[in-house]
């Protein structure tokens, strides 16, 4: 019964990694000899450090804001149970339907001062042309904003769900001891959902490290070249499709993949998130 999945796992989970590992050793015009030099050349490419810097700043903005806002909003949401709770949750998951290419499109409009729903705010800030916003210095902020709005709402609802699993007895006991709503949120609920937040943090970090669609679409359309080779994945894409350097592309992809695998292994073995799921030895 496990056979169909086993085939898919092998074919599209394991073999690609092996193929990439082999490819990453192959010669290219840049490196006729092949071998591990591909890795070094990928790291030494003049576009690598800027891309690493961009993604680093992006992650610094994106991951902490996700953690803080999602924790805060789910606690607030949990504090107001009642019939308005459900409509709020529905509203929060709406932005998740605007992802990828649609997210880029919508944010292009939102940040376009001539027709944005926020145009009054933008005008008040002295922004009358899209070009004032779309500058290379602002890109990390813009992409973080896009990624944040796409993902935060869903996570708020998911974390709200984990807050529901806290037993009423614990909360009751805290109230009898005189704890107010803020104290209960900070000292009791937050620590209890900490592992879910850590899990989310790592997932969000791993996804953010791989940022691609937003910069790629913006530079291939609206603002040509503005964000070309902005992220590490774009660079890897350029190696493969523009420089015809599959070895370098595979090498860079593998290095990014390894960072993600380390994150994954950390979640599995160093947090108690998967406790009881049969993964850890008893």
């Amino acid at each position: 019964m496990i056979a169909p999945y086993l085939v898919l796992l092998t074919a599209f989970g394991i073999i690609p990694v092996i193929v990439a590992a082999i490819t990453s050793m192959e010669p290219s015009t840049l490196n006729p000899g092949g071998g591990p030099l591909n890795y070094l050349q990928a790291l030494q490419d003049f576009r690598f450090l800027p891309a690493l810097g961009n993604v680093g700043i992006f992650l610094l903005l994106y991951v902490p804001s996700m953690l803080i806002v999602v924790a805060l909003m789910s606690l607030l949401l949990d504090a107001v149970r009642g019939r308005w709770n459900l409509p709020l949750r529905l509203a929060y998951i709406v932005p998740a339907s605007l992802t990828g290419a649609t997210s880029v499109l919508v944010w292009y409009f939102l940040l376009e001062p001539t027709l944005s729903p926020y145009k009054d705010v933008l005008h008040a800030l002295g922004i009358t042309q899209g070009g004032q916003i779309w500058t290379s210095g602002n890109l990390a902020w813009i992409f973080a904003l896009m990624a944040f709005f796409t993902g935060a709402g869903n996570w708020i609802v998911v974390q709200y769900g984990s807050l529901q699993s806290i037993s009423d007895d614990i909360l009751e006991a805290a109230r009898i001891d005189g704890a107010n709503a803020w104290q209960i949120g900070w000292h009791i609920k937050l620590p209890l959902i900490k592992k879910y937040l850590v899990y989310m943090g790592i997932l969000v970090f791993a996804a953010g490290l791989q940022v691609f669609v937003e910069p790629q679409l913006i530079s291939s359309s609206v603002y040509p070249g503005l964000a070309s080779n902005w992220s590490l994945n774009q660079l890897s894409y350029s190696f493969a499709f523009q420089s015809n350097n599959l070895g370098g592309a595979a090498a860079l992809s593998l290095m990014l993949l390894i960072v993600c695998i380390i994150g994954a292994v950390f979640v599995i073995f160093r947090t108690d998130f998967f406790e009881g799921s049969g993964v850890k030895e008893k």
């Binding site: 898919l8 605007l98 599995i268 799921s277």
Partner: protein, 314 residues
């Protein structure tokens, strides 16, 4: 939902034995109002982009610029924008729509069936290397799918599947998250005795699955299909890299093509006259977003129950 009724008096009682109950109560009320304001403002910020996108195609390009952002134009403009979209490369958008539907359907079926079978096998049957398989599945689940795109491209080109629907369908059907959800479901929600009883009665593994486990997993199937569909429908990077010709593209990739070929978003894109303006782009974006929105709203019950909480608690 009754919890609201029982928490209020308790909170009041808790604050009542502090020295200045009146002042505390006012503070509590101010705090409560502040919480509501934050929640509502965030709710507004969440729906504004979608509301705007819903009404944008009701206006023509001039109205989009001059009218109030939230004013409604006319229903006729949706039709006009759609007609304009149809003129783009001889109505290729219809092909993208069909592709998206066909690919997504095939992927949801393949990914869910393989995930349910594997989840059950891991949970209820004796298979070798079970723990290793689980760990590999978890690692694959945590790694973002984007991380494998370039390696998959290399593999798919080697297999000569580049630019075929199969390239997208097969690679996207690998669904470790679904396997893990199914595994957790079959280990926690269905008592082990049930499987064992069936086996004692002489049923084989597959009969047990078919007669006992499957009828009990309608909810699981819904959840798996939900996650699979919502990831697949909007996927951009993978089809973008694995497909080469416009007639094989999916809607999100096609949206990118529309983006880059219209002067409406970027006047610098050339002087060519195009009927694809901002309302048309907005309508195309809406066509991508609407199915996801509908699926989300329909599945809100699943989300409410708390995906993580329900699935990972041992």
């Amino acid at each position: 939902m009754t919890t609201a009724v029982e928490t209020r008096p308790i909170i009041d009682r808790a604050t009542a034995h502090v020295e200045m109950p009146e002042k505390r109560n006012t503070a509590g009320r101010v705090g409560h109002t502040a919480v509501w304001i934050v929640l509502l403002v965030y709710g507004l910020l969440s729906v504004i982009p979608m509301v705007w996108l819903l009404i944008a195609p009701s206006k023509n390009a001039t109205q989009l610029n001059s009218d109030n952002p939230f004013s409604f134009g006319s229903f006729a403009n949706y039709g006009a924008a759609w007609e304009h979209l149809l003129t783009f490369q001889n109505g290729v958008i219809i092909q993208w729509l069909v592709n998206s539907v066909v690919y997504s359907f095939a992927i949801v079926v393949l990914s869910c069936v393989s995930a349910i079978l594997a989840g059950y096998a891991l949970a209820a049957t004796a298979i070798p290397f079970k723990r290793t398989l689980l760990i590999v599945t978890l690692v694959a689940m945590i790694i973002p799918p984007v991380a494998l795109v370039i390696p998959l491209f290399i593999e798919i080109s080697t297999l000569q599947l580049f630019d075929t629907p199969a390239a997208v369908i097969l690679t996207s059907s690998f669904y470790p998250f679904g396997v893990f959800l199914a595994y957790i479901y079959f280990t926690t929600s269905i008592p082990k005795e049930l499987y064992e009883a069936a086996k004692v009665d002489g049923a084989g593994e597959f009969t047990t699955f078919w007669r006992i486990a499957l009828p009990l997993s309608k909810g699981l199937f819904g959840m798996l299909a939900f996650f699979s569909f919502s990831a697949t429908w909007v996927n951009y990077f993978l089809p973008y890299v694995l497909l080469g010709s416009a007639e094989n593209y999916t809607l999100p990739v096609g949206l990118g093509v529309l983006f880059s070929s219209t002067p409406a978003l970027n006047p610098g894109n050339g002087a060519q006259q195009s009927v694809i303006g901002r309302p048309e782009i907005a309508l195309a974006g809406l066509i991508v977003a609407i199915p996801i929105l509908i699926v989300f709203l329909l599945s809100s019950r699943l989300l409410v129950r708390g995906v993580l909480a329900g699935s990972v608690k041992s």
